[in-house]
Amino acid sequence: MPNEQLSFPAVDEMEVSLFGPGYGESVVIHIGNNLWILIDSCLNPNTKQPAGLEYLLHLGVDIQRSVRLVVVTHWHDDHVRGLGAVFRECASACLVLSQALKNHEFFKLLTLYEPPHTIKSSGVDEFVEIFKIIENCNKLDRRSTPYKWAIMDRLVYQEEIFLPTGNMVASAYTLSPSDASILHAQKAFSNLLPEKYQPKKRIQSRGQNHFAVALWIEVNSHIILLGSDLENTGQPDTGWSAVVDNSYIISGKRARVFKVPHHGSQSGHENRVWTECLHDNTLAALSPFNRGLTPLPTETDLQRIASLTSNAYITAPTSPRRHRFSNRVVRDTVAQVTKSIWNANHGWGQIRLRCKILESGNCWDVQLYGSAHSINN
């Protein structure tokens, strides 16, 4: 990483960094005074290390003491790779995870796909490690309440920070899942459970994005809305509709920084979020999802986001790229056996936003690293 990228934020400076390769995302937040929050985890494709953790270690952060929260917004593998290691290393952090995961069916799923089982599964193995850490903490009586279950409008973190330049209050609220989403979760996980005599396969961790945890962070007057992969379901009591209609935390407030949900997709878009919860020309950041025949965001999605703000950024390219195999036999064979083939992961970028906590208004500075770029250009 270049030196400037590794500059430590000032104690009275807030930072929001979004990391994303073509598959996966991770958010790192500095809330002031060398206190950090990590949200989700993905692997740096170059080093194969958890991106958020790697960044903090490069900065020289004492991750055992300085990380206050580790938030797992949902269980899909593009958001949890390396999370077990993150939670293990951040020994003082409280883990926040969706209440929708606290059910018998999800626990059973974990057990069936638990290592050393032979199926390497989508995200489930990271949760296995996390729950083992929690079990161990309970046995050793360490880490009082090392976890919290996220539900709508729950305060999961609050701290007053006293600095020479002024005081700061940092708060983190979870805006989802709703009660109805939690009820639906049980059935959804039940559908993923295998039955007797069925073949062993890898779990497909797609769908159920109305269980994801959207996060609302306030540091003094600065507000950040992190949309995770929360989608609209068409039902008023789940997904973004439930948040916009029912959350009292966001009522009357607007955020200046928005992590666009679900890779900018149409299903992750709720217009009222933009009109009622965000300032005009809000700083919008997102990561792409390059697996699948229809990578996200689509061209239409990019145009929509660009029309809603002139400050929109993405961590990596969305257009599929082909790898040119240097070996002729491989190149020829791949061309014959496949109808299409492209890199599942290309690009690696960081969108870094910083502002002085004690200043008000739109004082955010944007820096882009790696393949991160503006959508508006």
Binding site: P115, P116, H117, T118, K120, P199
Partner: protein, 224 residues
């Protein structure tokens, strides 16, 4: 010309208590471990309470009462072979097991007989034997070293002039796991699954690294 890989193979050997009579190709296909067509075409030498030996086009299975071995000479089937072992011992999870070896072998072709002699001489220097036995040639060398991970066992390396490619060198790396201290043999099946699944890539990389380091000794520039 650098040493070139002519062929390679892989076998997994388990030492324990087995019932060879079980290991008929039809048992494999009935349990979904190999396709029916492969089972139908299997060349069965014997399936008996004391021994089972059969082969399909990519696989050889040899089972005695104390020893189970499964082998392939085709790299495309290394992972299917691994899955087969895992699958077998998921079904036979109460089989008492004492040792496991994941053994990969390589036949490397060398540029010349001179390079072969140079390599062998580096491993077993002739000058050290001159006063003991004249005109020595290395025909086989086995060394054993510690594992770098926390698992009990060792890593063994066998080096011989190759019988498949001439001039050439044969290298076999024995990645050996020792379960004799385990309290309950019946708990070993998940342990074996864990090793074969989570440490597989590491094991294959280790054996390749060792083999390449051995063949690098044929270079004139290699340090003595």
């Amino acid at each position: 010309m650098r040493p070139y890989l002519k062929s390679q193979g892989l076998n997994v050997v388990l030492v324990g208590n087995f019932n060879p009579a079980i290991f008929h190709p039809s048992w494999f296909s009935v349990n979904g471990l190999i396709p029916q067509q492969e089972a139908d075409k299997a060349q069965i030498q014997i399936v008996h309470p004391d021994a089972a030996f059969f082969a399909i086009d990519w696989l050889e299975v040899n089972v005695l009462r104390e020893r189970f071995q499964i082998a392939t000479g085709q790299e495309a089937y290394f992972e299917p072979l691994r899955d087969l072992v895992v699958g077998i011992f998921e079904l036979l999870s109460h089989t008492p097991l004492q040792h496991m070896g994941v053994n990969r072998n390589f036949h490397f072709g060398l540029e010349s007989d001179r390079k072969l002699r140079l390599l062998c001489n580096r491993l077993a220097p002739e000058k050290n034997w001159q006063s003991i036995l004249p005109n020595t040639d290395m025909t086989s060398l086995i060394v054993r070293g510690s594992r770098k991970d926390e698992l009990p066992g060792f890593v063994g390396v066998k080096i011989e002039p190759s019988a498949v490619v001439r001039p050439g060198i044969f290298v076999e790396v024995n990645d050996h796991y020792d379960f004799t201290d385990a309290n309950k043999a019946s708990l070993l099946s998940p342990r074996i699954s864990e090793i074969l699944t989570n440490r597989w890539t590491e094991s294959l990389l280790r054996s390749l690294t060792i083999a390449e380091a051995v063949t690098a000794l044929e270079s004139e520039d290699a340090s003595q």
